[in-house]
Amino acid sequence: MDAPAAESLDATVRRSYGTLLGYLASRAGGDLAGAEDALSEALLAAVQQWPVQGIPDKPEAWLLAVARRRLTDDQRRHAVRERFSEAIQHALESAEQLAVNSDEFPDERLKLLFVCAHPAIDEAIRTPLMLQTVLGLDAQDIASAFLVAPAAMAQRLVRAKAKIKAAAIPFEVPERRDWEERFSFVLDAIYAAFTCGWQSSSDDPTGRDMAREAIRLGDVAATLVPDEPEALGLLALMLHCHARRSARVDGAGRYVPLDLQTTALWDQAMVDRAETLLRTAAGMGRPGRFQIEAAIQSAHAQRRVTGRVEWPVVAALYHWLITFTPALGAHIGHAIATAHATVPARGWELLETLPKERLANHQPYWAARAHLLAQLGRTREANQAFERAMGLCDDPTVRAYLLSQMT
């Protein structure tokens, strides 16, 4: 394949994979796996034909037409047992007409997001399923990011798609009364992908960057539902964190904690976009977990302008966050911010109230504990906690940083 055709195909796939798949799947009676097969066959046909015949004027419509034919053939074959559904046939044909004759066809990615985050789908597979169906990532990349054996990941994805078909999980956007709960599953799944990518700071340029892919998913969600403040809040949160990517490690490859990062290294365009999104979300007057987390990051981002972190503000935001999500991370953030805003002993008290049994293997807890103990001058205990945090750490730069903090 020559370079322009390869580039064009690649761009089309990146831009439209989820749109095409959502479109096909929702018109093929929820047969997600069948729609995927049909689409990958269309992509293969493009790889073979575009270099010879030239790139079509409407690449998406071309792909859709090929995939539609494949899907129709498939369904005709199955019609021996089961009368071929005329409704589906008709729907697919009118879909193709629409695609060929107009520049835009309805974006069904929101339905895809909801299907993938359906309560009937195992929680652990929701995010991988979104990454595969909406963004077109392959099972191997997803497996690495989620620390699952590749064969097992592929099997789980296949099983989830079989369930969508067998249990007839509807390809639709839920009713208003179910909306809030179901949409929060979508956002949680996107955030799970982001934290997966976030934890690994090693920048492998060839490897997939899961954090970046999660931002793409978040962008899809925020674009499709622009009046949902939490979707904007989540995107703002991810952009704020991602903007600091190159500041997290110094020239010598050492980890740099947030409040010591060189703010000039932050990606200002990304920070600005995050701030705009957060303002828009706040204007809607429906606060939520992701908006508050983004506001905390926004408070940290203010250091670029004012030169200092307003710790009382950060502590108050964490306190508010706990009322939305009593997660361990929120409590730990609250304790640390309180220590900065008042005295270390006050933060330590808050940390001591957390349930010990859930924290045994929680790396951020041991790191927070170590820092507070060090500030309290309890050196021996601090060193023990630093060591434990190191042992639970999977990032070599953070591990080296923790070692350097021991005295």
């Binding site: 620390l147 699952v148 054996a149 097992a152 090693s202 045994a360 293997n361 060591e387 434990r388 945090a389 190191m390 042992g391 639970l392 750490c393 999977d394 990032d395 070599p396 591990r399 080296a400 070692l403 021991m406």
Partner: protein
């Protein structure tokens, strides 16, 4: 379910064990990891190993016993140690493998342990 974690390290890392400048970081990372494993309560057994140049390999071929000075295979990465852990599933084992220092510069292999053979029936 028991899994063996096998820590494979390149020669450059193994050499850090005895380098006065590098040894504290090398051993610090490993002892932190070992202690975290021990305190999590999933550790079954295991140990670090002396470097491969201390190995002797035994083979018997055609009834003849030969000894070979060194590990069974010369490789760029060498077995530095192993642990057997008891965790609910492979994903949990992979999580612990990712925390091993060797995963960052060498590799960590995770293998399910065969259950012990059934006792002979009387």
């Amino acid at each position: 379910m028991e899994y063996m974690l096998l820590f494979t390290e390149p020669a450059t890392e193994l050499a850090k064990r005895n380098d006065p400048a590098e040894a504290p970081a090398y051993w610090g990372a490993w002892s932190a990891y070992c202690n975290a494993l021990a305190e999590s309560g999933i550790m079954v057994s295991g140990a670090g190993l002396q470097p491969p140049d201390t190995a002797t390999t035994v083979r018997i071929r055609d009834g003849k016993r030969t000894l070979h000075d060194g590990p069974y295979a010369e490789a760029k990465e060498m077995l530095g140690g192993f642990f057997v852990i008891n965790v609910p599933d492979l994903d949990a084992a992979l999580e612990w493998a990712a925390r091993s220092p060797s995963s960052s510069y060498g590799s960590t292999e995770v293998r399910p342990v065969l259950p012990p053979p059934a006792p002979p029936t009387p």
